[in-house]
Symmetry: C2
Amino acid sequence: MAGSGTPRATQAERRARSRNALLEAAARGLSRYGYGNLVLAKVAAEAGYTRGALYHLFAGKEELALAVVEWVDETWTAEVGRPAAAEADPVGALLALARGHAVYCRRDVARVMRTLHAEFAGQDHPVGRAIGGIVERLVAQAAERIAAGRASGALPPGPPPRDTALAYIGTLEGLVSSVAGRVPHDVELTERAVRGLLGLPSGGGPEHGAAEAEGQSGSGSSPRR
Amino acid sequence: MAGSGTPRATQAERRARSRNALLEAAARGLSRYGYGNLVLAKVAAEAGYTRGALYHLFAGKEELALAVVEWVDETWTAEVGRPAAAEADPVGALLALARGHAVYCRRDVARVMRTLHAEFAGQDHPVGRAIGGIVERLVAQAAERIAAGRASGALPPGPPPRDTALAYIGTLEGLVSSVAGRVPHDVELTERAVRGLLGLPSGGGPEHGAAEAEGQSGSGSSPRR
DNA sequence: TAACCTACGTACATGCATGTACGTAACTGA
DNA sequence: TCAGTTACGTACATGCATGTACGTAGGTTA
């Protein structure tokens, strides 16, 4: 930081700095324009380089996008996924993840996941598969948490865990990209939607004693262990 | 239809038939690949024509996309917007719109709005402006209904109506594209999320018999043990 | 039937973005 | 200092998709 102008820079530093700048510019570009409309010359220019530097650090457009996806996945996991996983009970984790995601998505870079997921939905492209794998992982994890919450009685019954988990992830993707940055309501709105999805009473207000007197006789799918 | 071989066809009929086929193929293509990745030759081929027909019926790619947007908007308004607007109270309209949207989006064509909205978000493109105008109209209408519902006491207080409306529309876009086609849970999950967003208790309330006949959760969920 | 218009196919021209080859400046180790 | 490597810029080649010009078959009006 102190080195004004950075007159001296080791090769590794130069490489890391350039790679990081390009990665960030690419992330911004991807979240704004998507993969197909992304122009590498503009990415490089926005990072202060030309395509030469880009092709020196990345094999091509595809590898650049994959690197961006990996990078975003890592930061997301560190800032959202891991803290949520630290929650004791599964329901708390689901809510913490939703809130954390809303905060995370205040940066425009975060929209890259939603943009690419939409662009490659039902496609057969390496980048699409990477995104699909990440989303699938999140859906499976959410489904487990939903099943566990229902088994313990923390959650009322509802549609199959996997369908509910799909809705949960889809809600996060869509809702957050709409209200991203409308601080501070983004978090509250996200939590409201997720609570409704899971069948939880609204959080901020008075504790509605869940008057869900549901006899578990036959109807509904009971997750058995 | 079903005219055996259609040996005779008036010019207007030919034109309308071709235009419709191209429009539908374009809608499918747009919802799958987005605008940038859409290849007009494939659109024409899928409709049983070549680019010649397409350029005869439409001025170009942009006008084709605009026509698709207009077409989808019209069908959506007829099948979802208008029935919802027939609801007496604003809250009923919000819920009816959500349910109707879930049903509407079981057709893959419906994803065209979400796909294009994501692709052109924060862009300056004619197609993006068209989508933006439609979405903005929906958001404004939802905001009005939310404000009216709160004023009448039908809805509890919450974040500003406009922010809530943004979340409402974003939820519909994201959630539905994830659970689209997971009949019949798509409707229930959509209603759950929207109810949570608006601060309404879960559907088992005294009014508004959900009447959601439990369907066989026939989707072969993973038999986890 | 003849002339005219419309629907559609085919072939060409253009632009733009990717990828690659190569040149040059900066850093590294002796 | 000097050779070797790394970081990056520049120039060229290629492919692909759009848009346009033109040709032909099918329908229309007299």
